[in-house]
Structure formats: structure tokens, C-alpha cells
């Protein structure tokens, strides 16, 4: 991977890259929030308008998924969503690192969701009834088996949640890196500039085709993936919370 991957522009030796870029994302979000809430008006303008639009989308999803109680969880979901979206989009700029392309960052987000929805469930209905819920609506003989299976499936949730986001970002990152490598000075462009006949005949058109392909297809696809993965992460977090809350109302 060292062969094809360019080191990031901003690099401090003692600090891992994903942590540094997490701080940058935090800084961006804090500045945007401060600008948006500096003069809060009844009729929003500018930055406030934009942020209200964004948060309205989160509220709509929360109402749809969790129900009337969902608005309590807006801070958690919206923070996760904005953080993940900003990180994903930052990975699109060559030379910057997406913090979500590192398993540690996504695992941290997924663990926060995991712990939160269990705490919500235990709070809503107490520890013992919540534990009973893992056994599910099956005959008593099967309950221990069901309990073990449910525990395993709940433990798989943060795993799949973190691996999905990480895998998507990492795959896009490597794909872009390979394409930039192939059309750069070590690849087609270098071949075209080397002066050989084959390079001029084949390398130059290939380099142009690759540039068009990357700009016209890969980068839009990556923008789409960045938004969809954010949506999926938030939607799944909402669904898990909704399951924990719903069980309480059910009994």
C-alpha cells in the first residue's frame, strides 16, 4: 500500500493521521455551528438557514423511524451523521485523509451507538425485563438457545456497523489511489511522456480516458457513497434505538 498511497499533506509525526484529521473535522463542524448560531433569528438567513435545513432532515427521519419520542435522540444522531458525512467528503480531496477510512474511528462511532441503545433499553424497562427480551417469544425450552443467539447477533451489530463504513471508505480510497497511480507519472502519463512510440500512441489516449473516467464516474460515485453510507449508519442507529424503545412500550 505504501507503493501507491501518497502521504497526506498535513502530517505531524507524533500523531496518527486519522486522529489529526478527526480534529480537523471537529474544527470545521464547530466553526460551522458557531457561524450558524451566532445570531439566531426567527426567520433564518444564511448559515442558520442551511443548518436548519440539514437538521430538519434528521428530525424527519427520527419521527419516521422512532416515533414521537425520537426527537430526544437528535443530538446523538445528528452529531454522528454530520461527523461521518464531513469525514467521508473530506476523503474525496486528494491529499487529505478521511478519518472514517480507519477502523478505529468507525469502531468508536459504532461502540457509542451500541452502548447508547442498550443504556436506553435498560433505562426504559429495567435490567431484568430488558434481558428477558433477548429470549424472545419462543417456548420456554428454547429460551436459553434463543438468548445466546440474540446476544451474538447484538454483538455482531457494532462489528458490521463499523466494518461497513470502514470498508466502503477504504475501498473507495484504494480505488482512487490506484487510478491516480495508473494515470500519473508512474503510469500512463509517464509512458506517454517517455518518448516511445507506443507511449504516444497508446499511453496518451489511455491517460485521457482515465482522467475522464475518474472525474466523470468515480468521483460522483464516491460522493453518492459518502451520503448513502452516512444515511445507512444513522438509519441503523435509529432502528436499533427504536427497537430498544419499542420493546418497552410493547409490554
Amino acid at each position: 500500500m505504501e507503493l501507491i498511497e501518497h502521504p497526506p499533506i498535513l502530517h505531524i509525526p507524533a500523531i496518527p493521521d486519522h486522529i489529526l484529521y478527526t480534529w480537523i473535522v471537529m474544527g470545521i463542524l464547530v466553526v460551522i455551528s458557531l457561524v450558524a448560531t451566532r445570531r439566531v433569528a426567527l426567520v433564518p438567513t444564511g448559515g442558520q438557514n442551511f443548518m436548519e435545513l440539514v437538521l430538519d432532515q434528521f428530525l424527519k427521519e427520527l419521527d419516521e423511524t422512532i416515533g414521537h419520542e425520537g426527537r430526544r435522540y437528535l443530538p446523538l444522531i445528528a452529531t454522528l451523521g454530520l461527523f461521518i458525512l464531513t469525514s467521508n467528503l473530506m476523503g474525496l480531496i486528494p491529499g487529505l485523509v478521511a478519518p472514517t477510512a480507519n477502523l478505529n474511528t468507525t469502531a468508536a462511532c459504532a461502540l457509542i451507538v451500541f452502548i447508547t441503545y442498550h443504556v436506553i433499553g435498560v433505562r426504559k424497562q429495567g435490567f431484568i425485563p430488558y434481558m428477558k427480551h433477548f429470549a424472545g417469544p419462543v417456548p420456554t425450552v428454547l429460551k436459553p438457545l434463543m438468548f445466546v443467539i440474540e446476544i451474538i447477533s447484538h454483538c455482531a451489530r457494532p462489528l458490521s456497523l463499523s466494518l461497513r463504513l470502514f470498508g466502503n471508505m477504504m475501498a473507495g480510497h484504494i480505488l482512487l489511489a490506484i487510478f491516480f497511480f495508473m494515470m500519473g507519472f508512474d503510469g500512463m502519463l509517464g509512458w506517454a511522456l517517455s518518448g516511445s512510440l507506443g507511449g504516444i500512441v497508446v499511453g496518451a489516449p489511455a491517460a485521457i480516458i482515465m482522467v475522464v473516467f475518474v472525474v466523470g464516474f468515480l468521483l460522483p460515485l464516491k460522493i453518492l457513497v459518502a451520503f448513502i453510507q452516512t444515511f445507512i449508519f444513522c438509519k441503523l442507529a435509529m432502528l436499533y434505538i427504536a427497537a430498544a424503545v419499542e420493546e418497552a412500550e410493547h409490554h
Binding site: 466494518l163 461497513r164 470498508g167 466502503n168 477504504m170 484504494i174 480516458i209 453510507q229 445507512i232 438509519k235
Partner: protein, 105 residues
């Protein structure tokens, strides 16, 4: 004409790949070669089967949208969730492939 064009484009795309493959096979030992083979085959298999599954899911969703244009938003949400679940299985394979390729054992 079309066939010649296709073959030549494929050849262009394959040239740097072959160069890298020769590098990888030349420097490493037998285990490394098998790791590269396993990563390539496994990821190809996973991607192809994921294509089948996602195609079914997306096709059914479009079918349902055409039947009920009023429920497009809900169907779209369900489709995206389903696609993400199918895709995450491929991403597990991807992570394993990355581990095979880049982690020195």
C-alpha cells in the same frame, strides 16, 4: 472494429497490472503468491455474487415503485437498507483481502 477496440482497451488496462503482478510474485515466496491469488479470487467471487443479490433487490424495488408510485420514499429507504446489508458481506471479504495483501504475516 468493436472487438479490436475492446481488446486493445483491455490490453491497455492490463499492462500496468501485469507489471505489478510480476513484481509481487518475484519478490515474495509461495505464501505471498497464494495470498494474492486468494484475495483476487475471493473478492471477485464475492463481488459477482453481490451483484446478483443486489440486482434482484434493486429490480424488485423498482418493480414495487412502478406499481405504487405513492410509496416511493419508503421503498427507497428499505431498498437502501437492504443493499447496505448485502454490500456489507462483500466488505467483510474486502477487509479480509486487504489483510491478506498488506499485512505481513
Amino acid at each position: 472494429m468493436q472487438r479490436i477496440l475492446t481488446v486493445s482497451v483491455l490490453a491497455i488496462l492490463a499492462v500496468p497490472g501485469m507489471a505489478w503482478a510480476a513484481d509481487a510474485a518475484g519478490s515474495g515466496d509461495m505464501a505471498k503468491a497464494f495470498a494474492v491469488l486468494a484475495a483476487g479470487l475471493g473478492f471477485g467471487l464475492a463481488a459477482g455474487l453481490c451483484g446478483l443479490g443486489q440486482g434482484r433487490a434493486a429490480g424488485s424495488a423498482v418493480d414495487a415503485m412502478a406499481r405504487q408510485p405513492g410509496a416511493i420514499a419508503r421503498i427507497q429507504t428499505a431498498m437502501l437498507l437492504g443493499l447496505a446489508f448485502i454490500e456489507s458481506l462483500v466488505l467483510f471479504v474486502f477487509v479480509i483481502a486487504v489483510i491478506l495483501l498488506f499485512v505481513k504475516s
